[in-house]
Point group: C2
Chain length 404, copies 2
Amino acid sequence: MNIAAAQSGGPTCAINASLAGVFKAGIRSGAIGTVYGSMNGIEGILKDELIDLSEYIKCDDDLELLRRTPSAALGSCRHKLCDYRTDIEVYEKITECFRRHDIGLFLYIGGNDSMDTVAKLSAYFIDNQIDIKVIGVPKTIDNDLCETDHCPGFGSAAKYVAMTVQEITRDSNVYNLPSVTIIEAMGRHAGWLTASSAALRENGESAPHLIYLPETCFSADKFIEDIKAQMKLHKAVITVVSEGVRTADGRFAAEEFQSAKTDAFGHAYLSGVGKYLEQLVSDRIGCKVRSIELNVMQRCSSHISSLTDIEESEAIGEAAVEAGLSGQTGVMMTYKRLGNAPYSYEIGSVSAQLTANGEKFFPKEWITPNGNDVTQEAIDYVMPLIQGELPPIMKNGMPQHFVI
Amino acid sequence: MNIAAAQSGGPTCAINASLAGVFKAGIRSGAIGTVYGSMNGIEGILKDELIDLSEYIKCDDDLELLRRTPSAALGSCRHKLCDYRTDIEVYEKITECFRRHDIGLFLYIGGNDSMDTVAKLSAYFIDNQIDIKVIGVPKTIDNDLCETDHCPGFGSAAKYVAMTVQEITRDSNVYNLPSVTIIEAMGRHAGWLTASSAALRENGESAPHLIYLPETCFSADKFIEDIKAQMKLHKAVITVVSEGVRTADGRFAAEEFQSAKTDAFGHAYLSGVGKYLEQLVSDRIGCKVRSIELNVMQRCSSHISSLTDIEESEAIGEAAVEAGLSGQTGVMMTYKRLGNAPYSYEIGSVSAQLTANGEKFFPKEWITPNGNDVTQEAIDYVMPLIQGELPPIMKNGMPQHFVI
């Protein structure tokens, strides 16, 4: 029997570590012949674009390079399966491809849309007595998958955000005049990544002075009042804002600045809340103001990824193979946190159906009553996930990457 | 006799290493009593805000932390002195402050505006037989100071840009569809930093596929033709553009997108050429397109600074003290490159007047004839400057910083 793995959704610094984990567990197991990789997620199955990963991962050095390379080595897709009762042809095509390569276990590393695929595909195989197992491996910098304490990829993104806000804080403090710096972090609906910037207070920083998440109602007037109040306390006010903050009517705060683009899944295309708030401060307060969008660097700066995140991401990839070999299917692997002092966790699994299309929001009780900061619980939650570093393997003063 | 140091202009990852060098050489020298730091550049002298640096740098660990901390520990300013014949009071105030603290040597770490201060202040002291030496220590991520092979701070910024473009290249390649990524790098008038992104070709990358510098005329029509041509060769086209690219009429390419702000020195306030070009590609080609502004992270990401840059920046700070003690004044310290294989350099000095207010542009002969790329000479120039790493001193998974 062979196995196949694929990567889907937005890339992270850790999705390749999970692939490395799958490969390692596959090679280690006596039960598996070949570990295949499907190019561009489920699309590679539909197009029969499978590669034998051992042709690319020939030694431990290759595996190590894969672990430390950002983005998805196998490529990604945003392809959502319809129900098999609506379009059975797609499912038959997938089954044919798997049969042709003697695939008995398929590992899908992705976010909630990918878990939808895991749920649908495993249901089809069960309903049709086809003995192919399907296991989901979570991944998202947004940390918004249900049923798991946290998500692979989040720790590295959180570490990047905290560290970068810290460095920007140094930069923002050089001039002897009042200033406002607005840092825009990713997060359409969930504020986990934005909230993680509060971690740097553990290093004695007062910044960030204001934190706005999509989970609270955003008001431009209150924002300006908050800024004015902080300007009395700090020369350089540092604010971190989720791209997805919304006003009371449910519209994105920066909606008037946006063109009404949507991505392939119908998600609203977002950018620019930082620029919008910069303009607002400039108009209403008139002080020095700068906005900074952390952009894709949040999800691809593997040169400063969290060792904890990379190790956990690899471990959950390995555990997924073991779960599939032990007969599980239609599940997503999960982390359960056992404690913070010392930090420990265990890997489990839940029905992928429970996580498909769902979103785990940042807890309301971890947001301060005035809606512009997070509590110590949020900091305690994120701290263990950003510990340790895994520097890239350098060549010519720049990282080496694993490229297929 | 005591000495004083100050930092001025935009911060970098290396300006604190130069301050560390000044402190080290000052302490080492038997001739110097106290090493003072002036808060917020020359403004600290005018306000008599001098601190005894040994109260903050108490041990080697403190000095090491200073070396690895981004931005300007003493704060910065954008204060330009007028000629002493126009306003002698300012000069008398500076002299009083220096006399009060028995300062015989003033080190000013900054860019071309700071070198103007070095030139004016030293001329005033000479013309009035005041025995206070003034030495300039160069610093700018723009690398545009005349008379020196390169500038402290540039190597770290160049390393950040090359590495980040490499990581973004991985991120941009995940989907199996044509896309354009536009990365906006700093550089109002000089394209050194943007050009340094070409370094990553030494690691076998084809990216960046297009590079646009302020030193060539920018045309929106030609840009679109260039993009179309590259889209035939690469699925994900990666473009790096200087913030300061200009059209044939001398206007910034994105001028219509800009508000007409200027900074304290009358420099045009720039942002948004990336967003402008993103819109242009969206309108004229209609493919997936994203723009990314590297913003202040280019100058403050000390977690990935170049060891070569930090060591050279420290060495030039030390050499500045020695130059002043040996009787030089009114000069800016310089690097002279002796060779690339192996890389070696020596530190010298030139009249600050020669560098004050001047700008060293990227050589036209290092730009390819079609104006959208740089030659191997540019890569050979930047490679030695980005070698080596100096990881931050970590605490709680985040860097520790030196803060006064």
